[in-house]
Structure formats: structure tokens, C-alpha cells
């Protein structure tokens, strides 16, 4: 009764319950899974509240445990990266329960995906497309140096500013040329082969061989299950492309024929670029029958040996395969050939040809650009480094300078070389040799590139640290000048963020390199940067205190 009550209470939120599955374990606790109109929820047995509840919109995908595993599980992966695993524990119907939940989710999730938070999707996309950003996100947000909001605070702004059209027409990912090679068959130990198919590979197969896709649509799931289909595919002679005689019962024999037809039509279409058209390349009118090797008999199929024609089939298939892979990569946008290069429409000269014919060395052209005055730098390093800001602490007045000059002048006037106490020439030479490159004293200072001294994983880690520190420092420095209460708050927070970063990220790293006896001070610069920020913060803080007091 108690349970019913609570159920009613929830229903009062006008939520329609679509599926209830009992005996579902979550974190080793038995409970019940509810699939509702807008969210999925789980409550432990005997409790009146849900301990787990996810909006469908928050769910990125679901994963299921492979068939034949002892535990029947379903995992939900959220956009935030977290995941929840449900274990279907009802012995007799576990599999069926899981399937039911999976099917329903499969229908529901796409609907909500569309509705899902645009911003979330945007963030997700940015993270996926930019591995550096993703690493940064992992370093800063996942390890809780700063919060996700802070991280995104001034990133999304940039997103909305840029042209959204750019993202709409995302560049399509092509197909790897070797996707068939990636299906490494593995022996399963009992005279059989196992092929590992991923969704990517299936997609590749479909895109490269439309005929197979058609077969798939025709046969699955009416005639064959998915598994059977692929089993047959790999058994088929079609897949083993070196055999030519495909049996008639094979459902893929038709595919082979279609491919053949496709290849033929491609060949018949001819080529658009007249410069590679071998048929029209030569301008000779020698008829058949003239010439030394005019009769080239081996092209006719009749008198080829079996081996030869199978070799020929391989070659043809390779050409076809490559052409299809190429076409699949560029299917969108440019398949319509409107450049008028075909032979029957040669009322104007094909542009490709014209361009190729009139190709010329750029360097032979006269320069027509207006003459510019070359930049003439007397002191290039000053130009490169820019003016150095004066620092308040080390500021010297002109009086100081005059005094010091006077002092030096005074010193110099009274200077007398004390030649008896000078080094003897032999000692001097040895000192010089010790100090010249390769000498005893110069070993430590020898400029050795960092990439030779430090193992690559440490380098990678250092790189991540730099990126993360840079990001944090960027946040920090962007607060200056601090003229609003919000910024005040932020700068304080950022300072603590920096400190936390130093503590949780930089220190462990430093300890690690110490442990590995990497003598060089790799993190010196990082520390320096942080120190500069702290200095700035202290100056700002003392000023504020002074103003307050």
C-alpha cells in the first residue's frame, strides 16, 4: 500500500509510465526500473523514492552486455560522461526484460535527442572535435579544478559568434581504404573464424558497396537475422574476391554482378579530364592489323587460364574498391558533373584542359604588385620582444642613476690593476677550456634539446599541464582590471583555482620527475608564471586593503 501511494504521488506529476521492470539491480541493490514519458528512473525495493532518475534528454547512449555473458546488463551513458548500469536479475526473464527496456529506449532516445539541450550538444560537439579542448576539460573540470560553468563561461560565447552554417555542413568523414582489412578474422579455437564487426565497418561496407546494403534491406530481418546475414557475407565468394565463379545460390552473386555493371558503366561514361583519356591520347590512324604487335590476343577472355583470369578479377576489384571508397568520401556535393567536360558538349573548351595547357611557372611572371618598402630593423631583438613594462618595485629614479654613474666613475678613477695577483697563464687556459663548450664546467649547461632528455610521456604530461595552466591563467588575467564586484569575486576564485591547480596537478608532477631523477627544472617556467599571477594578485589585494582602510 505504501508503495502504491508513492506511486500515485509520482503519477500526480502527470507522468505516464511506459514500462515497469522488476528485479533490476543497481549498485548491488534490488529495485524496480521505470521507463516514463520523459525520464528513466530506478527506485530501491521498499523505498518510496527514486534514487536514480535521468531525463532521456540527458542520456547520450545505451550499451548492453554481449550475449552469453552471465550478467544481463544495460548501461546508460550520460552527456556529462557519467554512466549508470542496471543489472537485470530476474533469472527466467532477464534477457527478455532487458530487450524490452532496450527496445523502448531505442525508440525514445532519438526523440529526445532532438529536443536535447542545444547547448549541451554544442559543448559535446566541441569537445569531440577538439582533442586539445577535451584534454583541457578532463584536466580542469573532471578533476574539479574549476567547475564546468566556469570552463564554458567564455567559450560558448565564441561559439555563438561564429557562423553556425559552418558547423551545419560538417565535413563528412571518409572511409578508410583498408576497412575490410580491419576485420581481422580470429580463430575461435574450434575450426571456425570469428569476425569482429563494428558499426563503423558495417557503415563502411554499406557506403562502399550499395549493392550489399540493398541486399541487407531486402533480407534482414525478414529472411535472415543480422548475424546470419553477415555470416553469409563473409562466407560468400563475393567477399573473397579472388574467386570468380560465384555460385548461383549465393545471395551475393547478384551483388558481384551489380558491381561489375557499376564498374562497366563507370568505364563507359569515360573520363572527364581529356588529359588522362588514354583512348584519345594518341593521334594515330594505324588501323587494326598494322604495327608490330597489333594483334594483342591475350586480352580476349577465351584463352586465359584460370589463374590469369582470377588475377585479372583481383585487379578489377581493387580498382572498383578504390573508386567506390573514393566516391563514398566525396559523394555529397560534387557528384553532379556540371563542368561541361563531356565530349558531346564541347561547345566550349573544358576548363580543366585549358588550365592545364596554359600552366606556367609563377616565377617567370612579372611582378605587378605595388612596391613596398622593406622593413629595416636596426635592432631586431628589440622589435621581437617589444617594450618591457617597468616594474614598480625595481623602479629607479634618475637621481639613483646619476648617483650610481658617479659612483662607478669614482671607482674606475681609483682602479689600479694588481698584476701580481693575476692567474698564471696555464691556470687561465685550463679555466677557459673548462668553461668552453664540452669542458668540465659546461656539461650541465650544454644545450640539449628537451625532447632528447625527457621521455615522451612526461613531455605529453608537461604539455597538458601547460595547456591547463594557460587556460587558468587566461581566466585569471582576463579579470583585470577588476572593476566590478563580479570580477572581484572571480579573481579571488581564480586565484584559489590556481593554487588548487598547483597543489593537485603541478606538485604531483614535480614529485614524479624528481622520482625519475630528471634533473632539469622542467616546471620552472610554469611556477614562474604562477608566481607572477600570485604577485599580481597580492599587489591588487594590498591595494584593495589600502583603499578600504
Amino acid at each position: 500500500v505504501h508503495f502504491l501511494f508513492s506511486f500515485r504521488a509520482m503519477a500526480s506529476l502527470s507522468e505516464e509510465v511506459l514500462l515497469v521492470v522488476k528485479k533490476v539491480r543497481q549498485r548491488k541493490q534490488d529495485g524496480t526500473l521505470y521507463l516514463m514519458a520523459e525520464r528513466i528512473a530506478w527506485g530501491p525495493e521498499g523505498k518510496d523514492r527514486f534514487t536514480v532518475s535521468h531525463l532521456y534528454a540527458d542520456i547520450r547512449c545505451q550499451k548492453i552486455s554481449p550475449d552469453g555473458k552471465a550478467k544481463v546488463q544495460l548501461q546508460l551513458v550520460l552527456h556529462s560522461g557519467e554512466s549508470t548500469t542496471f543489472h537485470f536479475a530476474n533469472e527466467s526473464t532477464a534477457l527478455k526484460d532487458r530487450e524490452a527496456a532496450k527496445e523502448l529506449l531505442q525508440q525514445l532516445l532519438p526523440k529526445f535527442k532532438k529536443k536535447a539541450n542545444k547547448e549541451l550538444e554544442e559543448k559535446n560537439r566541441m569537445l569531440q572535435e577538439d582533442p586539445v579542448l577535451f584534454q583541457l576539460y578532463k584536466d580542469l573540470v573532471v578533476s574539479q579544478v574549476i567547475s564546468a560553468e566556469e570552463f564554458w563561461a567564455n567559450r560558448l560565447g565564441g561559439v555563438t559568434n561564429t557562423d553556425p552554417a559552418q558547423y551545419k555542413y560538417k565535413q563528412e568523414v571518409g572511409i578508410s581504404g583498408a576497412f575490410l582489412a580491419d576485420i581481422r578474422p580470429q580463430t575461435d579455437g574450434c575450426n571456425g573464424l570469428r569476425y569482429n564487426l563494428t558499426a563503423d565497418i558495417i557503415e563502411s561496407i554499406f557506403r562502399t558497396y550499395p549493392a550489399v546494403k540493398q541486399k541487407y534491406n531486402e533480407n534482414v530481418p525478414h529472411n535472415l537475422t543480422e548475424k546470419e546475414f553477415w555470416t553469409r557475407f563473409f562466407q560468400s565468394h563475393y567477399f573473397h574476391r579472388d574467386r570468380i565463379n560465384t555460385g548461383t545460390q549465393d545471395i551475393f552473386s547478384e551483388c558481384a554482378k551489380q558491381d561489375e555493371k557499376g564498374l562497366k558503366s563507370m568505364v563507359v561514361q569515360g573520363v572527364k579530364n581529356p588529359l588522362v583519356d588514354l583512348l584519345s591520347l594518341e593521334d594515330k590512324t594505324l588501323d587494326e592489323g598494322y604495327g608490330v604487335c597489333g594483334a594483342q590476343p591475350s586480352t580476349s577472355n577465351s584463352n586465359r587460364t584460370v589463374k590469369e583470369s582470377s588475377n585479372y578479377a583481383i585487379i578489377k576489384r581493387f580498382n572498383h574498391h578504390s573508386a567506390m571508397v573514393l566516391a563514398a568520401g566525396s559523394r555529397k556535393g560534387e557528384t553532379s558533373s556540371t563542368d561541361g567536360n563531356s565530349r558531346d558538349s564541347d561547345f566550349f573548351q573544358p576548363p580543366v584542359k585549358k588550365v592545364k595547357l596554359q600552366e606556367e611557372y609563377e616565377d617567370l611572371q612579372q611582378e605587378n604588385r605595388p612596391k613596398t618598402v622593406p622593413l629595416n630593423l636596426k635592432k631586431s631583438d628589440r622589435y621581437a620582444h617589444g617594450p618591457v613594462p617597468l616594474q614598480s618595485q625595481q623602479y629607479t629614479t634618475s637621481q639613483d642613476i646619476i648617483n650610481s654613474v658617479n659612483y662607478i666613475q669614482h671607482e674606475m678613477a681609483n682602479y689600479k690593476p694588481n698584476l701580481t695577483q693575476v692567474l698564471s697563464s696555464t691556470v687561465a687556459t685550463s679555466a677557459i677550456s673548462a668553461l668552453s663548450p664540452g669542458g668540465v664546467l659546461m656539461q650541465a649547461g650544454a644545450q640539449q634539446a628537451i625532447n632528447q632528455m625527457v621521455p615522451s610521456e612526461v613531455q605529453g604530461e608537461l604539455k597538458h599541464l601547460y595547456v591547463a595552466a594557460g587556460e587558468l591563467l587566461r581566466h585569471f588575467w582576463s579579470c583585470f582590471p577588476v572593476n566590478t564586484p563580479f570580477l572581484e569575486e572571480k579573481v579571488i576564485k581564480m586565484k584559489s583555482n590556481l593554487e588548487r591547480f598547483q597543489l593537485t596537478k603541478l606538485r604531483p608532477f614535480q614529485e614524479k620527475i624528481q622520482r625519475q631523477y630528471l634533473s632539469t627544472n622542467l616546471t620552472g617556467h610554469l611556477e614562474e608564471m604562477l608566481q607572477t599571477a600570485y604577485n599580481k594578485f597580492h599587489i591588487w589585494q594590498t591595494r584593495r586593503m589600502m583603499r578600504k582602510t
Binding site: A181, L279, L281, D283, F318, S322
Partner: protein, 731 residues
């Protein structure tokens, strides 16, 4: 390049210059300048090149040159230069030009423009004719082509605007650019090149294969199928004669009368009717009346029948027969009592007959034409030809497929009239080494022979000879090891490693189709191709030209869009002969093996024997020369100029030998260091990486100034002139 002026005065020359270094433009500008200075000495320039795109490129260069002239002199010049090509490339008739094969286009054109067709059209206007030709005949004939530079497309464009047929818009040009078949093949040369003046300069560009072109134009192959076709043709002729006899006997009588009087010339004025021409060279054609035995049409058809039956009987052999032309003539006289003289007139007589009978589908009569051309050739030349009858192919001895090869062995026969007729002939190409062999096989005495190298601001080519695999197995395509799995695997390794480090396109050449097919199959079985596919797409040349064109286009597309691709191709194949792989289309060329010609061929053996006896060229020398020129041709495809760069990998240890290496062109040879003679795959990969990284740096104009690019001041400076003179002296 001060070799040329000497040349233009009198005599012939052989010049080797790497492609892309301005070979065409320097030849053109020099000759044009000469032409302008001494208009009476050199009246015409005939520039022959190999492929249609190459021809068009020459014309574009010429256009630039002329633009420069008119800019500098500030006056328009009255030069007329044009490119010539077959009907297939020039026809603008919407119906005819849509046909794909040259033969069809020619036939269709003939059926629309032959004089009797036009006569019929006159009486019955519904009879189709070609309006472009009609328009040209009515208006265009008197109007000369305005001065200028005309490429093929310009000609078509001009024709379209005027409504005239561009093919017949020929020709009083100062410069003519066309394929070298037009000058070398007597069947065409007679039509196109007859009226060229003696004071012309002839340039054969891309002429490294010119001997084969000469031989091809004089050789004939006859199979059983040809004979069957010919049989049909003869039957058709017979029936047509029969019909005409009933309706229009006067026509045949008229023809007979003309033949008696030897008035052939009086009849041929009509240009559109001259579809066929004599297969032998002009100075061999007899200037007398057709002999009596074949003068009447029926007699001639009977004569053809007899000849045909004789050939059929000859093809019914069980073993290979090789004989000389006189032996053949003696045999034919003994067996079927056919004399030498009527045979010599066979081709001419057939033409006359086809004209008289007003046969429209000339293309159908190609078999009969072939047979009659053979008859004329075999009875005209007693030297330099051989007849080989093979009952079956060597590879398939069980399948009867008899072929009669009538093959020319002496390239100098076809080119001799050219050398005799024109005051200077220049043979040039990027790969002509060793230079001295060309004058020998073409039988002429050059005034100049020179091989130029490139002056490079950076070494943009990197020839490497890979002689060993990583496991120290010697790499070679020689016969004994070609089936060896270790070699095949190492070749695969080489390609795989290269595919990982070379950006964009790689072209790999094999020595023959059969070899390539075998290697591809075993690479497939060993999973090497799969691994290569991880890096690049693979395209493979096949024996079908259309299929290869497609593969080639896709290859370029893949290079273009950044995916990168490998083209597996065959030396001596179509790709190696006519396609350039500029810039990223070919960053590396790998030559697997030494591309020796198939030495078991009887025709080749006969030719080698002939070369030894007549020109004192040893078999081995010629074979190596031939293999090396093809290898150089293949690897040279990748470098098309100083801004281009590419690896040239010779994957065969035999390349390291001095006799092979020494036959490579100088501009390649000088970059082969001793350190790159016998590399393993790994070493080659290391060197390539280094090279590619260096080459990928930006290359600016400033880097080249003073080296491969001269400003006007630099060019005129004393120092540079000395330097140039010094370089010229060395060569």
C-alpha cells in the same frame, strides 16, 4: 643553347633535354627567330609530337611566344601556326563527332562528303551531306585563314563560327604541329605532308620511341579473322561489280581506259575521295600504268581471290615459318602464279576500284585494304623486312591461332625520306641516352648531338637504387628469381614502406602485365595490399584502355583530395608513354625490375639479328638500351620541371651496374651518388624521408635567382655569359 643555329643551316641533330626545362620553348623561339631573320632559308617549321595533349601544349607555348613578340615589337605579326589532328579530334558535325573511334568518324565523314555522295545530293536534296563541308566548299576555300595561332579547339571554334569544316581548313601555315605519324606513316604522309617545302625544319619531340613508330607504320599482321573479313569484302566487290555492269557499264569502261593511260593523277584532285593511300614510300611507287592482268574489275577481284586463297593456305601451318620477302614472292609465284608486278599495284588498284564503285562504307573494307597493302609492301621491299608465320601463341600451344607477321626491321626505311627531304631534322626528348645509338639505327649523320642537364636551385630529384631487401635478399626481376617469394615480399615491403612516408601519389611500374598480375595476386594473398590500403588507395592499370583511363582519373582525384593513392602500372604500357605525373600526382616513382622487352618473341629476334648484321649493334646492347630508355621514360614521368620534385626508386640490383646506369640520361645519372647504389629498403626509406622533408620547404623565386632563374641584368652580365659558354662547352 647555341647548338641550334649550326643545326638550322644544314643537317640533323639529336638533343636530349630533361622535360620541363623549357625544351619546347627554346626550340620554338630559336627556330621562329631564325625564320624571321631568314625567311627564305627556313620557310616552315614542322613540329611533331606524340600525344594530343602534348601537341596542344606546343601550340600554347607558341601562342605565348607570339604574344611576347607582338608585345616587344609592338606590331602584329602575320604568323600562322596551327595544330593538325585526325577527323576524330577536329570534326564538328554533331552526329559524326559523337562517335568514339577514329575509324568510325573517318568512315562516317567519308560517307557524307565523298564526291559522288555530293553529286547525288545535288540531284536529290534529301540525301544527307555534311553542311560544314558544303559551306566550306562554297565559301571558305578562297578565304585564307587569318594569321594567328590555332590550337585544335581554336580550329574547331573557328569552324563553328564560320560554319566550315575545320578538318579541311588546311593549310598554308608557317608552323604546323602534328603527330609524328603524319610524317612517318606513308599511308597518311602522302595525304597530309606531301606539299611541305624542302626548306622546312622538322622537330620530332618526345622522340625516344621514334624507331618503333617507324617500324609500326610499315608492318602488317594478318590473322584468320582478317582473311575471313577480306573474303566477305571480295564477295561484296564481286556483287557490286556485277550490279554496276548491268546498270552502268560505262563507268567500269571509263576506269579501264584511265588505267590504260596511266591517268591516275588526273582523277585524284578531289580531296574528300582520297581516303586511302599507298602504303609504300613515295619514291618506291612505280610511275607507270597498272599492268594488264588486273586492269579490268573482274580480273582484279579474281586476282584478289587467288591471293587470298594463297594466304589462307599459308596460315594452315603446323610449325613456325620465317622467310624473307623474296622467298615469299618466289613461293607465291610457284604456287599460284602471281607475279611481283601486279602485286605492287594491288593497293592502288583497290583504291581505284572502290572509288569507281562508289562504296560509301570504306571502313568496312579495312580488311581488303590491309591485304592489298600487304601485297604492295611485300612486293616492293626486298630488304629490311621479314615474314613470320606462327600457328599458335607460345603461351597457348593447344589453341590454333595462326598469325602472319610481316614486320619491318629497319626503322631507317620509313624515316629516310624525311631526312632526305628536309634540310634539318631535330630529334629531341627528355630521355634519349645513349645518344649515339639513334643515328645508328635511324641511319643518318647528325651535325650535333648533345645531352643537356638541368641547372637546379635545389636537387629536386632523388634517384635511389634499391638492391636488397631488409633481409639482404637481392632484389631483381630477372627471370630466375621472378617467382621467388622472398623477392616478391620484399618488393611489397618496399611499396608498403614508401606508401607510409610519401605524400599524395606514388606510381609504381612493373616490367610487364603478366608480371604485375602475378605480383598483385601474391601481394593480395600475403596481405600486403591490405596494409598498403591503410595508407593509400590502390589503382591498377589494366589492358583495357577505357578502364585504365577511369582508374587514372580516380587516382588523380584521390591525390587531389588528399587521400593519396598508388597507381600500379606497366612500363611500355599506355600510362608510361603518355601521362605525366606532375607535382603531387607523382611524388615517387618506383620501377620494379628492369623493363626488358619480351625476348622470346620471334619478331624481336629477327630484328636483333638484323641490327647485328646491318648496323653492328650487339643484341645485348640494344636490349639494354631499350630497357633503360623505358625505365628512364617511366621514372621521368614524375619530374616535369624545376619546381616539381620526386623520388625515383630503381628496385633492382642490376641498375647499380655501370652498363645499366651509364645508359640513363645524364640529368638523372648525375644525381646518383655512390652511396645510393645498393640500398636496402630501410636505407632507402631513411634517405627518402630526409629528401621529402627537405623538398617540402617553401621554394621561392629568390632562391632560384642567379641559378635556375636569371634576371635580364644577370643574363647580360659578363660572368654569366662565360658560365653559359663553359657549360655549353662541356656538352
Amino acid at each position: 643553347r647555341d647548338e641550334l643555329p649550326r643545326l638550322l643551316d644544314d643537317g640533323h641533330g639529336v638533343l636530349e633535354m630533361p622535360s620541363g626545362t623549357g625544351k619546347t620553348i627554346s626550340l620554338l623561339s630559336l627556330i621562329v627567330a631564325y625564320q624571321r631573320a631568314f625567311p627564305l632559308e627556313v620557310t616552315k617549321l614542322i613540329y611533331c609530337s606524340r600525344t594530343v595533349p602534348e601537341i596542344e601544349k606546343v601550340v600554347e607555348e607558341l601562342r605565348k611566344l607570339m604574344e611576347f613578340y607582338s608585345k616587344q615589337t609592338r606590331e602584329s605579326n602575320n604568323f600562322l601556326a596551327l595544330a593538325l589532328s585526325s577527323r576524330r579530334n577536329l570534326c564538328i558535325h554533331p552526329e559524326v563527332s559523337s562517335l568514339r573511334f577514329g575509324k568510325e568518324v573517318d568512315g562516317k565523314c567519308h560517307s557524307l562528303t565523298a564526291s559522288y555522295i555530293r553529286a547525288q545530293h545535288h540531284s536529290n536534296p534529301s540525301f544527307p551531306v555534311c553542311q560544314f563541308y558544303e559551306e566550306f566548299d562554297a565559301v571558305g576555300r578562297q578565304v585564307p585563314l587569318p594569321a594567328g595561332i590555332y590550337n585544335l579547339d581554336d580550329l574547331k571554334d573557328f569552324g563553328r563560327r564560320k560554319g566550315w569544316c575545320p578538318y579541311y581548313l588546311i593549310l598554308h601555315a608557317n608552323i604546323v604541329v602534328y603527330s609524328y605519324h603524319y610524317l612517318l606513316d606513308p599511308k597518311i604522309a602522302d595525304l597530309v605532308s606531301k606539299e611541305l617545302a624542302k626548306k622546312s625544319v622538322v622537330v620530332f619531340d618526345e622522340a625516344h620511341n621514334i624507331d618503333n613508330v617507324c617500324i609500326d607504320s610499315m608492318s602488317v599482321n594478318i590473322t584468320r579473322r582478317t582473311l575471313d573479313h577480306c573474303q566477305n569484302n571480295v564477295d561484296t566487290l564481286h556483287n557490286t561489280i556485277h550490279k554496276i555492269k548491268e546498270t552502268d557499264a560505262a563507268k567500269l569502261k571509263e576506269e579501264y581506259r584511265r588505267l590504260v593511260e596511266g591517268l591516275k593523277e588526273a582523277n585524284v584532285a578531289r580531296e574528300t575521295d582520297v581516303y586511302l593511300s599507298n602504303p609504300v614510300l613515295p619514291d618506291e611507287i612505280l610511275q607507270e600504268a597498272v599492268p594488264g592482268t588486273i586492269r579490268t574489275a573482274e580480273h582484279f577481284v579474281g586476282f584478289l581471290r587467288r591471293f587470298l586463297e594463297y594466304l589462307k593456305s599459308r596460315l594452315r601451318v603446323q610449325h613456325v615459318i620465317q622467310e624473307s620477302a623474296p622467298q615469299f614472292l618466289k613461293d607465291i609465284y610457284d604456287k599460284v602464279c602471281i607475279d611481283r608486278k601486279p602485286l605492287r599495284f594491288c593497293a592502288e588498284r583497290l583504291q581505284s576500284l572502290l572509288r569507281t564503285l562508289e562504296i560509301t562504307d570504306i571502313a568496312d573494307f579495312s580488311a581488303a585494304t590491309l591485304i592489298s597493302n600487304f601485297a604492295t609492301l611485300v612486293s616492293t621491299y626486298s630488304q629490311g623486312f621479314t615474314i613470320i608465320i606462327e600457328p599458335f601463341e607460345d603461351r597457348t600451344p593447344t589453341i590454333a591461332n595462326p598469325v602472319l607477321h610481316f614486320s619491318c626491321m629497319d626503322p631507317s626505311i620509313a624515316i629516310k625520306p624525311v631526312f632526305q627531304r628536309f634540310q634539318s631534322v631535330i630529334i629531341t626528348s627528355g630521355t634519349l641516352s645513349p645518344l649515339d645509338i639513334y643515328p645508328r639505327i635511324l641511319d643518318f649523320h647528325p651535325v650535333t648531338m648533345a645531352s643537356f642537364t638541368m641547372t637546379l636551385a635545389r636537387t629536386c630529384l632523388c634517384p635511389l637504387i634499391v638492391g636488397r631487401g631488409n633481409d639482404q635478399v637481392a632484389l631483381s626481376s630477372k627471370f630466375e628469381t621472378r617467382e621467388d617469394f622472398a623477392v616478391i615480399r620484399n618488393y611489397g615491403n618496399l611499396l608498403m614502406e614508401m606508401s607510409a612516408i610519401v605524400p599524395d601519389g606514388i606510381v609504381a611500374f612493373f616490367t610487364s602485365y603478366v608480371y604485375m598480375e602475378n605480383i598483385v595476386a601474391s601481394w593480395y594473398e600475403q596481405g600486403i595490399l591490405e596494409n598498403i590500403q591503410r595508407n593509400k588507395l590502390i589503382f591498377i592499370e589494366t589492358q583495357d584502355a577505357a578502364e585504365t583511363s577511369m582508374a587514372l582519373e580516380k587516382y588523380q582525384e584521390a591525390c587531389e583530395n588528399g587521400r593519396g593513392a598508388i597507381l600500379l602500372s606497366v612500363a611500355r604500357g599506355k600510362v608510361s608513354e603518355g601521362i605525366d605525373f606532375v607535382h603531387h600526382f607523382g611524388r615517387a616513382v618506383i620501377m620494379f625490375g628492369v623493363p626488358y622487352v619480351y625476348t622470346q618473341s620471334r619478331i624481336l629476334k629477327a630484328r636483333l639479328e638484323y641490327l647485328r648484321d646491318q648496323f653492328q649493334i650487339r643484341e645485348n646492347d640494344f636490349l639494354t638500351f631499350d630497357a633503360m630508355r623505358h625505365a628512364a621514360q617511366c621514372v621521368g614521368r614524375a619530374i616535369r620541371g624545376k619546381t616539381d620534385y620526386g623520388l625515383m626508386i630503381f628496385a633492382d640490383k642490376r641498375y647499380a651496374r655501370a652498363d645499366k646506369r651509364g645508359k640513363l640520361p645524364r640529368w638523372i645519372q648525375e644525381h646518383i651518388t655512390d652511396g645510393s647504389l645498393n640500398l636496402t629498403v630501410d636505407e632507402a626509406v631513411q634517405l627518402s624521408k630526409h629528401f621529402l622533408r627537405q623538398m617540402a620547404q617553401p621554394f621561392r623565386q629568390e632562391d632560384q635567382l642567379g641559378l635556375s632563374l636569371l634576371t635580364l641584368e644577370q643574363l647580360e652580365s659578363e660572368e654569366m655569359l662565360q658560365k653559359i659558354a663553359q657549360v655549353a662547352h662541356q656538352t
